[in-house]
């Protein structure tokens, strides 16, 4: 089963997601320049939204964080055990090797050329220990790893621990399974063991505007209140635009269930959390200056048995135009409402659909919902047995 969410969301003037020039991101579509919000920006705003996190407020469902500082986090956890300094250092060194095939350097051997000054030698020893990559880790995974390393050093001794390569350590402590719902949804990529790669069950497309976009510039000045000079003390430019975005999200229910080892209750909470957060969250770029907090006008949830991920972006190949009778948003909604049955009929595709809209649009075979709660309750996820 594939659950897709399509949104039409009109943002007031804003610069939610910018490129390396500070301009709102864009792309060409239908031969015409469109505004764009990157997929990664949307994903991050969802993952960190209070709405999403509230679905997992229960302590046992801790969310993952990115960190290279695994050894330091392990060091904090082993403080509670009664280890002498040497053993603690051996455990932290072992955590550093996670993700590599190295062994610890034998005690006393110089692994680097001697430093020039005493002070820099000291600061190098005090420098935080890191692993080779940025990893997604949940608290419970770090707890397990720390406990396992402490067990090894207590039972087998420091020299045995030092002699283990990173790969051997992961073998001994076992492969970690993710317990975090957001790893199961958004995935994790690590190029080495012991943390298993997880394929994301969620796909987020880059959001593109349904119409041609004009980049606009706000020429601003800052006046010095104290110097008494007239004229500007500082001048600059901020670029922005206002756009109706089409957004697409999809969740592979089967993949999500498999990432969560069959736990349908957590999977259902994750799906509801994602839909709720995708509708209410948005990136925060320049929002202190623009405050373009605009929820979507149209939200369509679509459930397909065949996991064919299909975006309705082509409804807007011909850029939508506003008229005196119809706003950009309404015209976009009309284009979408006409396109959905057309595309599905053309390719003989079937789906169950529910709609939440501030605009009076009508799509065949679609359940119109009166509230977000009703839309989320409509999701047929409790009844699914892992298909």
């Amino acid at each position: 089963m594939l659950i897709a969410l399509h949104l039409l969301q009109n943002h007031a003037p804003s610069n939610l997601n910018r490129d390396d020039n500070g301009d709102p991101k864009d792309c060409v579509f239908g031969g015409v320049r469109r505004a764009r919000i990157s997929s990664q920006s949307l994903k991050r705003s969802i993952r960190w939204s209070p709405t999403f996190r509230s679905y997992f407020a229960d302590e046992s469902q801790d969310l993952a964080q990115r960190t290279q500082l695994l050894p330091e986090l392990v060091r904090q956890r082993i403080n509670t055990h009664d280890l002498d300094t040497e053993s603690s250092e051996a455990v932290v060194r072992a955590a550093m090797r996670i993700g590599t095939a190295e062994k610890a350097a034998p005690v006393g051997e110089m692994t680097r050329a001697p430093r020039k000054t005493k002070r820099s030698a000291e600061s190098e020893n005090n420098a935080p220990k890191r692993t080779a990559q940025l990893m997604f880790l949940s608290s419970s995974e770090i707890d397990e790893l720390s406990a396992a390393l402490v067990r090894i050093v207590q039972e087998d001794g420091i020299s045995v621990l030092d002699g283990l390569t990173g790969d051997k350590i992961s073998e001994k402590v076992g492969i970690f399974e993710p317990h975090a719902a957001d790893i199961a949804m958004f995935g994790r990529m690590t190029t080495s063991s012991p943390f298993k790669n997880i394929e994301a069950a969620v796909q987020v497309a880059h959001a593109i505007s349904t119409h041609a976009v004009e980049q606009e510039f706000d020429f601003y000045t800052a006046v010095d209140d104290i110097s008494g000079e007239s004229g500007a003390g500082f001048i600059g430019e901020v670029s922005f635009n206002s756009s109706v975005y089409y957004k697409y999200f999809s969740i592979d229910w089967t993949g999500l269930l498999s990432n969560l080892h069959g736990d349908a209750a957590i999977a259902a909470a994750a799906v509801r959390g994602l839909i709720h957060a995708a509708i209410l969250a948005h990136p925060s770029g320049k929002q202190n200056s623009f405050a373009a907090h605009n929820p979507p006008d149209v939200a369509i949830v679509e459930v397909r048995r065949d996991r064919i991920a299909l975006s309705y972006a082509n409804a807007f190949v011909q850029p939508v135009r506003a008229t005196p009778q119809q706003s950009l948003t309404a015209a976009s909604a009309d284009a979408l409402a006409r396109y959905i049955p057309q595309l599905n009929r053309l390719y003989d595709l079937h789906a169950d659909r529910a709609l939440l809209s501030t605009l009076p649009i009508d799509i065949a075979d679609t359940r119109a919902c009166a509230s977000l709660g009703e839309l989320i309750a409509w999701l047929p996820i409790e009844r699914q047995e892992g298909r």
């Binding site: 390396d20 792309c27 705003s45 960190w48 796909q203």
Partner: protein
């Protein structure tokens, strides 16, 4: 008996990496064999290390018709750094366990708490930067030619995929279904004659461009080598194939319509 399966790759954004390294992710100008085989493997439910992937690559011959070449988009992609949400922007030190969310944890530990690593020059949290290239507004028709049972199985996999398929990167969601029909005969001749999608037909009728389309065809005796035949997708091992570039006329009704507008 042999057969052909057509796959339509059309989306606002798609990406087909050929020579990418580390933080700079490229795209080439048309779907790669590794990308297409990878997609078919995903649809078939094969894990990246599955041996059937290399076998499939050897079992089918690939040709691509470039219906719309698209434009190159370079996306500035950051990881970590910045801030999110209405947290206080305090000057000075930030710690990882405060309501501050985001940023790369890699700085010095002070009194049992880890500082968020701050860039000395900008005083903002450190950020990883990568550049990812995409093809925007492109549409391709890929033809795969092979033994009938192989092609039939691919057709079934594409219509009932085990994992949802995407065009190169996960954020590249297709705008039309991938499966675009089955056929028999000579790969290049049949591929050239296939009709376009409505979106492509719209572009062809609106433009004043060429009357020919670019084809990229596998040919063992050709000169250009693409390093995109997958052997092991888990360890990213590839071998090369030889390709030839050809040109074919627009399919008949569209060519006639274009000639009309040029003359009229």
């Amino acid at each position: 008996m042999t057969a052909i399966i057509y796959l339509r790759c059309e989306a606002p954004l798609q990406a087909w990496g050929l020579r990418a390294r580390w933080g700079q992710r490229d795209t080439t100008s048309a779907p790669t064999k590794s990308g297409i085989i990878g997609m078919l493997a995903s649809a078939s439910g094969w894990a990246r290390e599955d041996r059937q992937i290399a076998e499939l690559g050897a079992a089918v011959q690939m040709a691509v018709r470039v219906d719309l070449p698209g434009t190159l988009l370079d996306d500035y992609h950051t990881t970590g750094g910045g801030r999110f949400g209405a947290t206080d922007q305090r000057s000075g030190v930030r710690y990882h366990d405060e309501p501050y969310i985001g940023g790369v944890l890699s700085a010095v530990e002070t009194r049992g708490r880890i500082k968020v690593k701050i860039n000395e020059a900008t005083r903002l949290p450190e950020t990883d930067v990568s550049n990812r290239a995409y093809l925007a507004d492109a549409s391709f028709l890929v033809g795969l030619y092979g033994a009938e049972p192989v092609i039939a199985r691919l057709a079934h996999a594409v219509r009932h995929p085990v994992w949802p398929v995407f065009l190169g990167r996960k954020s590249c969601v297709a705008a039309t279904p991938l499966f675009a029909g089955l056929d028999q005969g000579d790969l290049v001749a049949r591929l050239s004659a296939q009709p376009p999608t409505p979106r492509v037909a719209l572009a062809w009728s609106a433009s004043h461009g060429d009357l020919v389309l670019r084809l990229i065809v596998e040919d063992p005796i050709a000169d250009t080598l693409y390093p995109d035949v997958p052997l092991d997708l888990r360890r990213r091992v590839f071998t090369t194939r030889a390709v030839r570039e050809l040109w074919c006329p627009l399919p008949a009704p569209h060519r006639a319509a274009r000639l009309d507008t040029l003359e009229g």
